[in-house]
Structures are given as C-alpha cells and as structure tokens.
Symmetry: C2
Subunit: 516 residues, 2 copies
C-alpha cells in the first residue's frame, strides 16, 4: 500500500456528494441542506503546485479536484471519481452527438481469440509486447488464449466478413466506446498512458474503394477537430511519418494537442487501412457489376486523453477551468450575508430557480463556510461562473458575476440573469479557445537548423523544412531526440527551406516535438 | 467457423442503418431517401418459430430483429447490433435516471490483483471456478495474476477503505455500468448466461449500521421494481434461501421475472453485506462519539438480463413488441398510395413533422416495398404504432392507427395526431404490463404436495407451504429438481398449510421454479 499517498484533500470528497446535479428534474442543490452542513468548517487546503511545474500540478489536480484517484493497487489502473466521471459523460456526449449523425453505436466483445488476433502480421507485430493474455478460466487452462483487446480490429472484422455482402451495404460506419488494454512498460500516467484505457471511442468503417476510405479519414479528422473545438481546444493535424503509422495501415493522420510543458499529446488518430485487413479477414462485397471485390476500411479513435487535454490546456494555479458545456456545475451562487438576511437568501434562491428552470446546472452554496473558502472550493472545481449577491447588490437589484476564466467581476441586473449567464457562457468558451490558440501559436518555433530545434524543443513545437524522405526524417529524430509529428495541414506545413540532412530545397515544413 | 449459422435475414441489416434516429435535431427518417431505396424489393423473410417454442423463437428473434449477433467466434461472447444497442441505451437511461436521484456514477478498473481478490474467503469460494485470469502482459509473465472482475467488491472496497473516514461521509452510494466476466461452463445464452456480461450495473453502498444497510436493500429492490415497471414487466421479490445467497452476504433479496417457458429469470439482486467485507477490507468510520466503527455495506446489480426479459415477456410470433419509452422507433408512417399522390405524401410528411417536432421518434417509410412487406418489417422491430394514410383516410382528414400490442386498427383525426399518439403510448404501456401481470398470476400454481409441484413446475411457478428450515428446503429442491426462490413479498408469500417435509404447520408460502 506504499503507493497510497496521504489524502490531504479528503474533505473535498464530501463536496462531490453534496452537489450532485440531478438529471431529471430541475433541482437546485442547496448546500446547507446537504450533509455538508454538519461538517466542521473547512480547513484551508494546501494550494496546488504552480502550473509551471506541470507534472506535479497535473497529478495533484486530478486528486484535489476529484477527477481520478491514482491509489488503486495496480500500476497504470485508475479510478474515476464521480466528479471526473461526470465530466467524462458530458465530453463523450459531444462525441456521440457528432458521430450519431452518420455512425451507429454498437458493442463487441473484449476478448479476442488468439487465432483471430494473430491473423494480421503487421498488426500483431505492433501489439505483441503490449497485449494482456487470459490463459485460465477458473482453475482450468483455456484451450485457446484470449487477448484483452488493445484495439478491436481483430474482434470486429470477423463479423464484418459476415455482415458485408453488397455494395449497397456500404459505407458501413460503426463505433463503440469501450475499455481497451495495453501492457505499458513505460511510465504510466492517469488519463494519458494507461494499462486500462477505460474510454476508448473507436470507429470502424467499410467502403467500396480506396478513395472513399480516404474521404472518411478526412471526415474523421474533421469530426475530431469539431469535437476539440467544442472543448475549446485548438489542435494540429498531421499525417504521421510512415514509420509512426498504425500497424497494418496505409497511413495515419493524427490530431495533436500542445500541453503546458511543451510536449504534444496525440489526442486522436484516423487510419486508412486500405484493403489490408479486408484481405486478411476476407471482407468482400459484390460490386455493381456482380464482381466480388475486397472492401477498403478505416478506423479512428479518441480516448480519455481528451479529458487530459481538457484539464491541462485550460486549468490554472487555482484548479480546473471548464468550458460551460462540460462543466458538471455551471454556476455557483453564493449569498454574501452579514447576519441573517431573508431578502438576500430569497434573491439567491430566485436566481437559482430561474437558471435551473432554464437548464443551467446551478448550485446555491448557502453553507456556513466563509465566502473565501467557498470561492476557493468552486474555483478548484472549475465552475465557469460565480454569482454573489450581497446587500449592496440587492439594493441595486443586481448580482456580482465573476468569471472563472478571467477572474473579471461584473455587475449584472437580477431581472435579466438568465441572459447575462448565457452570454457569458459563450464568451467564456470563445475566450478559452482564443487563449489556448494564442498559446499554441506562440509555441510553434520556426527553426532553420537542427541545433535551433534542440534549443526550442523543450519549449514547444519546432517547425523545420524536411524533404519528406524516410532516411532524412529518421536522422533528424535521432539528432534531436524528439519525434517528427509530420507535415501539418494548413499553412504551418508550408514554407520554403532546405532539408537539414540532405540539404535539398523543399516546400514542406515538418513539426517536431517531444511527445507523451 | 462452423458456429456461424446461415444469415437468412441479412437484408434486415440495411434497415437498421437506414432508419437510425438522430439524437440532436428533430429529423424524420425518410426511407426512400436512404440507401434502402437502391435495394432490390424485399424478399419475404421466413417467419419466426412460434413463441410457444420459446428457445427457438428467442434465438431466432435476437438475430432477425437485430438485437445480438451470436456468431462471434468465442463461446458465450456476443455482439450487440446497433439496433439492440439502441434499446440497451434507452433501457439503461431509465436505470440511470432512477439511480441518479441519490447515487453517483463512477468507474473502477476491470483488473483485480490476486491478493485483493483472495481476501474474502466466502467470496472467493463462490467465484473461484468462474474467474478469468490474466497471467501474461505481452510475452512477460506477470508477477501477480489479475482477475477479470466477476463483480467489483474486491476492486472497489480497497478504495472505500481510503475514502470512508467519518460518519459524515455516510451513506455513500456509487454505481457503475461495466463489463464483467464469468467463465460459465453451463450452456451459454445471449443476454442471459454470458461469459462477458457487457452491461452490468452494480451499485455499492456504505452505511453506519446494519439497519441502515437493510433499508438500502429495500430501497434497491424498490428501484428495481420501478425500473421493471417502466419496462412494463411485473416482478416477484423474494429473499433467497440461505444456501442461495451471494457469497459473503448476510442475505440476498432478488427480483425474478417469469419467462414464457415457465422458467424464472433472476433479473436483479440486492445483497446485505453487513460488516463482512468491511472487516476484510478494513472499512471503518469515526462515529459521532469519536469511536472507530466498522461500516455496513450493500451491493446490488442488474445486467442485460433486463433486455432478455423485455424481449421475452412482450414479444410475439410476429417479433418484438416494445414499450414506447424504449422503442428506438416509436411510430412508423406508411403512405398507402395507388399511383402517385402528392396529397397523401404531404399528409404523411406533415404528420411525421408534427410528431418529430414533439420528440416522437418517427420513421416515414416511403420506400418502394409493398405495404404488406413494410408491415412485416416494422412489426418485427416492435414499433409500437403504425400510422397508415390512404385516399379514404385523407378524404376524412384522418389516419389509420394500428397498435403493435393488440393489432387493433383505429381511425384518428390528423389534426390531433400528436395527442392521439401520446394517449395510445400510455395505453400500450399499461396494456403490456397488465397482460404480463395476468400471465404471471395465471402461472403461479398453488400446490399442497411436492407431487403437485412436480406436475406444475414445467408450466410456471409452484407455491407451496414451507416451514423455512434449511433441511426441509434442500429436501424439497432435491425431490422436485427445481429451486426455491424464497418466500415472496406480499400476499403470495402468505397462506396456511403444512411443510411437505416436516409436516409442521406454517403461514409461509415458498415459491419454487425452474430457473435460468
């Protein structure tokens, strides 16, 4: 149990129970009516490490704000706190909304028999060191070992063989959100490098030809960019170098997020599988002329790394900063009472009712803590807006509205509180995105030489000409001790210069980064 | 691949893709605009076996109506078709709604280290023949074997030890919906007896004392009864005999559903764990006097057996019959055209728009199939209401509305179509429940002797006096070759008679049944 760290923030656990937002009916949560009321006054919790010490900040924040508990007694496996799980639910609801337009959700088994798993040579080579094997059922040794899916190609494609018959069945677009497993030998990290990926959204599509599959890869990347835009997170899209593609794919396109410490987090990938797996798993269709053809396929995935990006990109020294759409609590209302005041209490509860009835997730924190302790607590949880109502506010029939993203305090008329809140939600979302975009742009450094890359690579992404040849790319990676993400889409990938290895002139700009 | 059965209903697969209901916006699905349109005319599929041959009917229906595909190449593992998964989503949304009132959703790891798993002696004895073991990560043998959770007590309670500190932390009520695993050696069956239970909803609660935990067991059973009521399924609640309780529990209360073949399906269980696990996992709290006390616990679960019950109780010879709340498509509109008729098409699409804008999940089947083929198709899918609009209907500004549950055809004015539909939804739900309740009541047979039980047990549930003694109960089970479910709650469990073994007079009536 030595892996268990002291739980100095235990009092936060009760918060999370106290302010559970109900799903069905509109219910404002009144803190004073909850069990929280019989608690001793909050002790001031120790503050977070500064975000400039990213790794410490990240680990501590996950516990303090109750996203993940890292104290589960197996390396690389973590527990979702209910609060973290609530964020996950809202985040994946966005993903489902985007996919459900032309995909369908399904669910395949976790366990893959060894003979299916071993069919695709490239694929197995890519995963053989990472696969967990079930060898026993009860006290009996199994006739055939079963793999815990590291990803589901080899679970799904035997069924696609049965399901796909005719060109009229295509395109076929299914997805599932499931747990997958990798026996990671590297340093594990919650939400980022896991032995159980609890929230793997994987889509698997089937098409008539290579071009249609290529379009689907583009569409997948578009969906992922929209998904991250909804989380107010800017992304960079690159086709991965050939040596870094998915095992068994023709090519891989990836979505990367730049993290606060200058490393990039691969946060979504889409793979063009061509007919590689179709040939292995015998997935054929009858074309319009009655001929049997191999299908072409794609697959694409996003994991709880999306939550890691959400937390890391927006959070600050005070804790989480959440875009309103995914915040479990969107507004906290805090009465500023000097002595008992029925008027203030009533104004707070009226405002809470108005917001709640209009679908805003609101908590009225009328507990006994000092206002300062309440601010601290809700800032840590990333609540986008805090509304304070005190005697002076009430005299003006107004409230003080404080934004979590900027800290700006403004006065808002109480009789228009719903609109005031909604407008600020939009503004918060846009501000979070703009801030993150600016931070990303500022940390893409133009470099003319590999020496320059070495100087910049610890601050962010280095941009450097690359002829595109494999040998030059591998030499660049070795020299700098960092990865080539690829030649990114858009202007970032275009320029003029000479490959630092072969010195050939090129219009391609590659980006290099240290990666998670 | 010999386990793969011929896919004679393949054409149904496309239906499912064609009529996907969108989540976000109100979108009527027009069959003719979908890929379905370029299909060859439907061949008449073979009809289902009669429901009186329940086992055959069940297996065939799962495939034809596209709930589960049994052709996955591992025994006891099945694939959710998107249509089945859609029903699952709606069913579990009800469960979440009921639980979220005072529970919180969370997620714990799948893999349990051997040392934690082995801590509770009773528990391990109950599961040791059923647990799948992971022994290798990649090519490396693991230092410690990892169990795939058969249920999560031993994954969750080490964390509860850390989380629970004070009486103010209690009660603690968490749940998760996850996959669990049992190495079943008996005959496996989709949704009923699985090696991967894909949809295990398990709740785990912690309380200050035995009585509070006992109340939670009652509350859990109340929630489950409400859940099944929402699925229009009547249940019987019994405390299980001591020899049939959960391994490690003080007692187990169960919810049973009577299936069409007269066997009962255990469809939900709630276990009073007393302080048995608290002592094993050292879960203590400080009471109001500052003393350390062992906590008392409960756990309770429901699996995809709920979907098996849903399908089996309501379905008929024509296929699925779904209560409106969980039906992926609630209304299908079929234009009855003799030649082209713009008026009829417009009336259909107006009706569809009205329903859709009011949150009804509607498909307008304006494809080229004959009406009869369309009826057949949507009946198989269990769509609660079919609306037909033909020339005569239109002349009366009316529609013909056909109920899936009764087959009754009625005329309804088009200008009130939303209300007409809503009223029928309520009536369908109530009728399904009443029908099922009547069928249940008719198949509980009062028996005075074990010989009588033997005569009735193949038709349903036998009700017989039982003194409540273990020895008598075991003797009864052996004599009849069926299980004692317990002494049910309510009037069914009360009566007067003599125990068939010891002949003692008793007011307790036990129920016996063949069970899944």
């Amino acid at each position: 149990m030595s892996r268990f760290i002291p739980h100095k923030f235990l009092h936060f656990f009760k918060i999370l129970i106290a302010y559970k937002t109900k799903v069905v009916a509109c219910t404002v949560n009144y803190m004073a009516e909850t069990r929280n009321a019989d608690k001793k006054p909050e002790e001031k919790a120790e503050s977070l490490p500064s975000k400039s010490k990213f790794s410490e900040w990240y680990n501590e924040l996950l516990l303090v704000s109750q996203i993940m508990d890292v104290r589960y007694p197996v390396k690389g496996l973590y527990v979702w706190f209910p609060f973290g799980f609530d964020i996950r639910k809202r985040t994946y609801a966005i993903m489902r909304e985007l996919l459900d337009k032309d995909h369908q959700e399904t669910m395949f088994p976790l366990l893959i028999p060894e003979n299916e798993f071993m069919k695709e040579a490239e694929h197995i080579k890519g995963f053989e060191n990472e696969v967990y094997w079930v060898t026993h059922g009860g006290l009996t040794e199994l006739d055939m070992k079963l793999a815990l899916r590291p990803t589901s190609e080899t679970a799904i494609y035997p069924m696609y063989k049965v399901w796909v018959r005719s060109h009229a069945d295509l395109p076929l677009r299914l997805y599932q959100i499931v747990n997958t497993f990798r026996y990671e030998t590297k340093h594990t990290r919650p939400l980022i490098r896991l032995r159980e990926i609890t929230s793997f959204k994987e889509a698997h599509t089937v098409h008539t030809d290579w071009d249609d599959a290529a379009k689907q890869v583009e569409e997948a990347i578009r969906i992922y960019q929209e998904f991250y835009r909804r989380l107010a997170i800017p992304t960079i899209v690159s086709r991965r170098p050939d040596w870094d593609k998915f095992p068994g794919a023709d090519y891989t396109t990836a979505v990367d997020v730049l993290m606060p410490d200058g490393k990039t987090l691969q946060s979504g990938t889409a793979h063009h599988l061509a007919d590689n797996f179709a040939k292995t798993f015998d997935i054929k269709y009858e074309d319009i002329n009655g001929e049997q053809q191999y299908a072409h396929q794609t697959c694409y995935g996003v994991s709880e790394r999306s939550i890691a990006a959400l937390i890391s990109v927006h959070g600050d020294d005070k804790g989480l900063v959440l875009p309103p759409e995914v915040a479990p609590t969107q507004v906290v209302i805090i009465p500023i009472l000097f002595g008992k005041s029925d008027e203030i209490s009533k104004a707070c509860s009226d405002a809470a009712d108005t917001l709640c009835e209009n679908g805003i997730r609101v908590v009225l924190d009328d507990g006994d803590d000092r206002p300062g302790a309440k601010y601290y607590k809700w800032e840590m949880k990333g609540v986008p807006l805090r509304i304070e109502i005190g005697p002076r506010d009430l005299k003006n029939n107004a409230a003080t509205v404080v934004r979590r993203d900027t800290g700006v305090k403004e006065t808002a008329p109480l009789n228009n509180i719903l609109e005031e809140v909604k407008t600020r939600f939009e503004s918060i979302h846009e501000n979070l995105f703009e801030k993150a975009k600016k931070s990303l742009d500022e940390r893409i450094f133009d470099c003319a030489s590999l020496n320059e890359v070495k100087g910049k690579i610890h601050k962010g992404i280095a941009r450097i000409p690359w002829c595109g040849e494999r040998e030059c790319g591998l030499a660049m990676e070795e020299e700098v001790d960092a990865g080539i993400l690829g030649i990114p889409q858009g202007d970032v990938g275009k320029g003029k210069g000479n490959c630092p290895i072969c010195n050939k002139e090129t219009g391609n700009m590659a980006i290099m980064a240290r990666t998670y």
